[in-house]
């Protein structure tokens, strides 16, 4: 914590200066509130409007959570299947790499056409954006496990199952977590975008309503909430990782902090 304060004061100072500059320029240049509200106006709206959007937040968090759990489970499952069945890997791995370059979000309107405005299309969108980073990261993790160790285990008579659970799976855990971190951020984005396309509740809905009525302060409130949610989610994964992976080399851990 102390080291965080020691190193963290510089970026915090930058943020404070930015906000200060923002506040001052809205006053000096007399920018109308509907064009660019000042930070204090945004904070005021966040406090007074809390009762309006708190419901939206819970609904979005729920969506993110369900989508993320389903998406990452499928991602993990697909990675294991592709890794253990070489024929599947040969057939699908190139396709997965190629499809990674397609922004999955563009499928969202199609999914709305097919599945309507309920939970299902939204969960599918989040699943799709979560799934690729996890599958790719995990597959690479499996493949990069120590060849010498694998030979040692094979010569000692280890079964494929033992090699998977004792060597490849633990070796791929750090890779899995880097995939999960990317997916966590993606799933927040996926949730909001899918809500833009049609929903009765959620931050995406709150945002569309705010922008169509020129309540720019509310748009900013929504943006900040999305940023905070992303960071929070990322932090949870980071904490999980620190709890689960205690064996990382010291230098590496220090570099992270």
């Amino acid at each position: 914590m102390r080291s965080f304060l020691q190193k963290g004061w510089r970026p915090i100072l930058v943020i404070v200066l930015l906000l200060l500059g923002w506040q001052l320029s809205t006053i000096i240049l007399q920018i109308p509130e509907w064009l660019l509200p000042s930070p204090t106006q945004i904070v005021r709206e966040a406090i007074t409007g809390w009762s309006i959007f708190s419901g939206h937040i819970t609904s979005t968090i729920q969506l993110i959570f369900i989508g993320f759990i389903i998406g990452s489970s499928i991602g993990i499952f697909v990675a294991i299947a592709l890794h253990l069945v070489p024929i599947l890997r040969e057939a699908f791995y190139p396709l997965i790499i190629i499809s990674q370059n397609i922004p999955t979000i563009v499928l969202a309107p199609l999914l709305v056409i097919w599945f309507g405005f309920g939970m299902l299309p939204k969960i599918i969108v989040i699943t799709l954006v979560c799934f690729f980073p996890i599958t790719i990261a995990l597959l690479d993790g499996f493949r990069q496990s120590d060849r010498d160790l694998k030979h040692y285990m094979q010569m000692a008579g280890a079964t494929n199952r033992q090699i998977f659970w004792k060597l490849e799976w633990p070796h791929a855990l750090p890779a899995l977590f880097s995939g999960l971190k990317i997916s966590a951020t993606y799933s927040v984005l996926g949730a909001v975008i899918s809500e833009w396309l049609g929903a009765s509740e959620g931050i995406g809905v709150y945002m569309t309503l705010a922008s169509s009525s020129f309540r720019t302060d509310r748009v900013f409130v929504a943006i900040f909430i999305i940023v905070i949610l992303s960071l929070l989610f990322f932090g949870i994964i980071l904490l999980l990782e620190k709890g689960l992976i205690k064996w990382k080399p010291k230098e590496e851990r220090e570099r992270h902090e």
Binding site: D146, D148, H151, Q154, Q162
Partner: protein
């Protein structure tokens, strides 16, 4: 009685003939070194003995049972220590036992102590020096239930002093537990100091060129390294290897 018998093993990868008609045997409790030029196929031979690669022809027998292409009878110590970074030293050492059945923590702790690693049982590999890791890797092999240990240049990454310490340590452990060892090295001195017998492989395609029985009595004292007899041996083996114009550490 011979523990391991390698009978006329040949191996080619496509047109690349790597092993030709390699035959030798190792007795129970014997320490044998394989000296061969780089790229001559020693690791390939290990993979065949370990049963994870098929020879193009020939057989491998352990305790008179054929094990060609059948893994599970050999404990292998690779060139790099290859410990699992997520396991503590104790759990790393127990890996070999886990694969085939039951964990014997008591014996493992005893071995760890004998290796001078007491207090590190619950440390992770990244907290250990290179020499210590190599010792852990070797203890793992010694604790495995398999009767034959293959060591693929285990000390090549260590400096000269650590290396001699490790050699002495290896001998002390081996003399205590009496397992059959097949040891690969590029270093003539190392092979002489450690082995009962040295097998010299020819350059590609590799076959057994010559065998020497090393008469120094056991337990070996590091002072023999400076003796006249040791130097004579070194010369004989060096000459033998030089005839095939091969670079070795002298």
């Amino acid at each position: 009685m011979s523990k391991l018998e390698v009978n006329a093993v040949s191996k080619s990868f496509g047109d690349n003939e790597v092993l030709r008609d390699v035959s030798f045997s190792i007795s129970d409790g014997e320490f044998v070194s394989l000296l061969g030029p780089s790229g001559s196929g020693k690791s390939t031979l290990f993979r065949i003995i370990g049963g994870i690669a098929q020879p193009s022809s020939g057989t491998v027998k352990l305790d008179s049972k054929e094990i060609t292409g059948k893994p599970g009878s050999i404990s292998y110590t690779p060139q790099s220590p290859s410990l699992m970074p997520w396991r503590t030293i104790l759990n790393n050492v127990l890996l070999g036992q886990e694969i085939t059945g039951s964990r014997d923590e008591h014996k493992a702790l005893e071995m760890i102590e004998r290796a001078g690693l007491k207090g590190y049982e619950n440390s992770y590999p990244h907290e250990l020096s290179g020499g210590m890791k190599q010792r852990v890797s070797f203890i793992r092999s010694m604790l495995s239930p398999q009767g034959l240990i293959l060591l693929d240049e285990p000390f090549s990454a260590l400096d000269e002093f650590t290396r001699l310490d490790m050699q002495k340590w290896l001998l002390s452990i081996w003399e205590l537990y009496q397992r059959s060892i097949l040891f690969v090295t590029h270093n003539i001195e190392e092979a002489l100091f450690l082995s009962d017998r040295i097998i010299i492989l020819s350059a590609k395609p590799a076959s057994v060129k010559k065998e020497f029985i090393i008469p120094f009595k056991r337990p070996r004292d590091e002072r023999i390294l400076l003796s006249e007899e040791f130097l004579q041996w070194k010369k004989v083996i060096y000459e033998e290897m030089r005839q095939q114009d091969v670079s070795v550490d002298y």
